[in-house]
């Protein structure tokens, strides 16, 4: 085979080797090794911006890296390398891949003109391959970002707990922005001190994280302050352990107001691009979305719950009771306990409303302790509570009522002293009342009045016969109620 034919063949072999590489690092290593192999060079390297990216034949720390990094393409050079001796260097620009240089060094013989040409060809092949890999890498990264964002959106829409969503977002940002290395942190402004931010979650290597460092002063931190002030991505050069690096921060918001910063920190080897700045902003915006959604959920939750006891209010209780009754095609079996406190008004009148609220709160906790998973507890208003027990017979419900009555009969410790109240409980079952939640509540209410009339601190189970008498006495009862329950 002629010299030209052999050189062409060697370029083909190099292309076959580097083009089968999956990433830039393995392509460079394959190219360096193959080029050294082809030219029987002991040493091969690729140098970017004066830094050796990959080398073969020189042990790390041997001191020869600086000499390799200083080789200038075009000139015929000799290098004196420790442990190797005098070498002849040949090098060429990678061309299509920026400022990279392929460097080969051989002990035995200097490179001929034909070999220097081959080095130029090999550098060019590697340069083109790296450019192709970078394009592919950018496309793969874009796809990965889309996949992460889709997963986050699903998590937010499915109301995955907020800490989990935040953790997922930080991990995704680490994967995309720092390639699994470096660090990503989410700092949120302290609700009690707007001048400080608290480290909420983080992922990755703790490059220069000081143990216990979980608060920062927003005004004093150049990165966080820059991002918050400008309300966009802010960048600074950083360094840790003598290693150069960088940090980027993007602001996060809750309901339109600045709520913190998402910070990514990487090493100098990994370069930042506009696409990565956009990606950081996307992850920050998803955190904003999750925070705002969680806030909205909190507000909705507050609107549907009694602020004193934390129990469902009448509207939410009724809605959930309707859903319970509709289970199993309307055959859901529910027994309702309507609990009315006896002598509660006296607590408010004598010890004040704060004491009354404290007592209601403790009764609310008692209700929650009483029910099982799947049952409902609610405060219907004033001193009226309701429990909806699933698949519970009237007898079993009566036993529950007894327990409640006994416990409520115990003194409560409230601000200003001890409060003693009682409870009257009405019981009604959907087996008799049917699937209408209002009817079930009405029946339990009637039974409760019967219990009160019967002497308080007792329970009564609804009977149809109560309806007739109740309608007659209902009006009178409503008038007399205040008198009966002073």
């Amino acid at each position: 085979m002629s010299g030209e034919g052999l050189a062409a063949q060697q370029l083909v072999e190099l292309l076959a080797v580097v083009s089968s590489s999956d990433d830039e690092e393995s392509a460079i290593r394959a190219a360096v090794e193959r080029a050294a192999e082809t030219l029987e060079a002991e040493i091969g390297a690729v140098v970017f911006d004066g830094t050796v990216a990959q080398a073969v034949g020189l042990p790390q720390g041997s001191g020869g890296y600086d000499a390799l990094a200083a080789v200038t393409p075009g000139a015929s050079q000799t290098l004196e390398l420790a442990a190797v001796g005098l070498c002849h260097a040949g090098s060429a620009h990678l061309g299509a891949a920026g400022e990279g240089i392929l460097v080969l060094a051989r002990c035995e013989q200097s490179f001929s003109a034909a070999e220097r040409n081959l080095i130029r060809g090999m550098a060019r092949v590697l340069g083109l391959t790296l450019r192709m890999l970078r394009t592919l890498d950018a496309e793969r990264r874009r796809q990965r970002v889309m996949q992460h964002l889709y997963t986050l959106q699903r998590a937010i829409s499915r109301r995955v707990p907020l800490p989990d969503v935040l953790g997922m977002t930080v991990a995704a940002a680490l994967d995309v922005l720092a390639n699994g290395t470096g660090r990503v942190q989410l700092w949120l402004i302290d609700t009690h001190d707007a001048g400080a931010a608290v480290l909420v979650c983080q992922a990755g290597e703790l490059l220069h994280h000081v143990e216990g460092e979980s608060r920062l002063s927003v005004a004093d931190d150049e990165l966080a302050a820059g991002a918050i002030r400008a309300d966009r991505v802010h960048e600074i050069e950083t360094g840790a352990d003598g290693r150069p690096g960088w940090s980027m921060a993007a602001p996060v918001h809750e309901d339109g107001r600045t709520a913190g910063v998402l910070i990514v920190t990487g090493s100098a080897e990994r370069r930042r691009t506009d696409a990565e700045r956009d990606n950081l902003l996307s992850f920050a915006e998803h955190i904003s979305l999750a925070l705002t959604d969680a806030k909205t959920q909190r507000e909705i939750n507050n609107a549907m719950h009694d602020t004193v006891t934390g129990l469902a209010n009448r509207a939410l209780f009724t809605t959930r009771l309707r859903a319970l009754l509709a289970e199993d095609g309307g055959q859901g079996r529910v027994t309702l306990l309507f609990v009315d406190l006896d002598r509660f008004k006296a607590v408010n009148d004598t010890l004040g409303h704060a004491a009354g609220d404290a007592l209601l709160s403790q009764v609310g906790q008692l209700m929650l302790r009483t029910i099982r998973h799947g049952d409902l507890a609610g405060r219907l208003g004033g001193d009226e509570f309701a429990l909806a027990l699933r698949d519970t017979s009237e007898d079993d419900a009566a036993a529950v009522a007894d327990r409640i009555i006994d416990e409520i009969a115990q003194p409560f410790h409230v601000p200003g002293g001890r409060a003693e109240v009682g409870a009257s409980v009405g019981i009604a079952s959907s087996l008799r009342a049917g699937p209408d939640e209002q009817e079930l509540i009405r029946r339990a209410d009637i039974a409760m009045y019967q219990a009160k009339r019967g002497g308080r601190s007792r329970h009564v189970t609804y009977r149809n016969s109560m309806d007739a008498s109740s309608t007659v006495v209902e009006e009178a009862e409503s008038v007399l109620r205040a008198l009966v329950d002073p």
Partner: protein
């Protein structure tokens, strides 16, 4: 069981000698060969080449009993090389000693799938040898049944760099192809790499030579993967190879005939300073029609069918010895390590390997030598490649 001459150098600071035992009891064989090898003061290293039939644990114990505390590496073979002629079923122990040598040893187990890392790790440990002497070389003994042996060398080269020659061989198992063993002190392994970094006051020469020449036009590797070549010139690789050589019809389907045919017809890969040999006989794939077994053949690469004969192989063996010795200049070597290929042994036959031993002895001029028939030869002296097939590699210790 001949005690060999003590080849102490003129300044009396370095020596090498060789012991051998054909006893069947592994403990006794190890003990006897080691005792016979240690003929001088201050032994620094034992290199052990043993038949696969030996029990490696008992062998190591026997050697340790005869040479307590002396660093040792070794492996199983496809026949042992000894100054009195080739051996089968024996144990050959080579001892290096004297104040002019400094040695450190290492072993890394479970190398398959992580050859490059294993090579780096073993070199990292072995390189801790005293740096007081100007000349160094790393002797590696690997599991010959592990694939991608080149990567072990690349890993070691990455740690040691171009300043330290690599030398050694891949352990054999007498063509059983079921498992080799490696020794490191009293530790025994399969699927491992053991290494000794030798530092010397005197130069170390390494010779490499094979007796194969290309025939016909080259073929292009058009499909490869997992260490095998699937297609040559867009044809199933095995068929393209056999067609190019005009192989008899029976060879195409009969595994043993194919192996026999391929033994003396390796493939060649063009390098700047010559053609490297790739053995095709150890992993024939009659069903899948792929070829492999002898090391890397790159996708897109050119390869030639190669031919050779007893005479060319023997000439190469002598040339490798001469080259290694010549590199020492005016110095006489204290000894030679001679690693030849198991496939060459098959080509040479029993008479041929006796002749090979005689050729080595001619070059040695009375200095001790020892080695074994390997499943792959290691010698990196220039460039970055160092793994060979069907080649004689020789280390001359100055």
């Amino acid at each position: 069981m001949t005690a060999h001459e003590d080849s102490r150098a003129a300044d009396n600071t370095r020596w090498m000698s060789v012991g051998n035992s054909v006893l069947s009891d592994s403990y006794q064989a190890g003990q006897q060969a080691a005792a016979e090898a240690i003929t001088g003061e201050d032994p620094k290293l034992l290199l052990v080449f043993a038949a696969i039939g030996h029990d490696p644990e008992r062998l190591a114990e026997g050697i340790a009993a005869a040479a307590p505390g002396v660093p040792m590496i070794g492996c199983s073979t496809h026949g042992e090389i000894h100054p009195d002629g080739p051996r089968d079923g024996s144990v050959v122990v080579t001892a290096l000693g004297g104040a002019g040598f400094s040695v450190s040893t290492a072993a890394i187990a479970e190398i398959s799938g992580r050859q490059r890392e294993a090579g780096a790790e073993v070199a990292e440990v072995a390189k801790t040898v005293d740096d007081e002497f100007p000349h160094r070389a790393l002797v590696l003994l690997t599991d010959g049944l592990a694939r991608d042996q080149e990567l072990v060398l690349r890993g070691a080269y990455g740690v040691l760099g171009a300043g330290v020659p690599l030398f050694g061989g891949a352990a054999g198992d007498g063509w059983r192809m079921t498992g080799t063993f490696q020794l490191h002190g009293t530790q025994t392994f399969g699927n491992a790499v053991v290494a000794a970094c030798i530092s010397s006051v005197a130069p170390i020469g390494i010779g490499i030579s094979h007796g194969w020449r290309p025939t016909g036009e080259p073929m292009v590797v058009t499909a490869s993967g997992d260490g095998r070549v699937h297609e040559l010139d867009d044809e199933p690789a095995l068929d393209a190879y056999l067609n190019r050589l005009g192989a008899p019809e029976t060879v195409y389907r009969d595994r043993s005939e194919l192996q026999q045919f391929a033994l003396s017809r390796p493939l060649g890969v063009q390098r700047r300073s010559g053609i490297e040999v790739r053995n095709m006989s150890t992993e024939v794939d009659v069903e899948g029609r792929s070829i492999g077994g002898g090391g890397d053949l790159s996708l897109g690469g050119l390869t030639w069918a190669m031919e050779g004969d007893e005479d060319s192989v023997l000439t190469a063996s002598a040339e490798a010895c001469r080259s290694a010795i010549d590199q020492l200049g005016d110095r006489s070597p204290v000894g030679l390590l001679t690693f030849s290929c198991a496939a060459c042994r098959a080509v040479l036959g029993d008479d041929g390997i006796v002749k090979e031993g005689a050729r080595i002895a001619e070059q040695a001029h009375g200095i001790p030598f020892a080695g074994f028939y390997t499943y792959g030869e290691i010698a990196r002296t220039k460039g970055i490649n160092g793994f060979h097939n069907q080649t004689m590699v020789v280390m001359a210790l100055g």
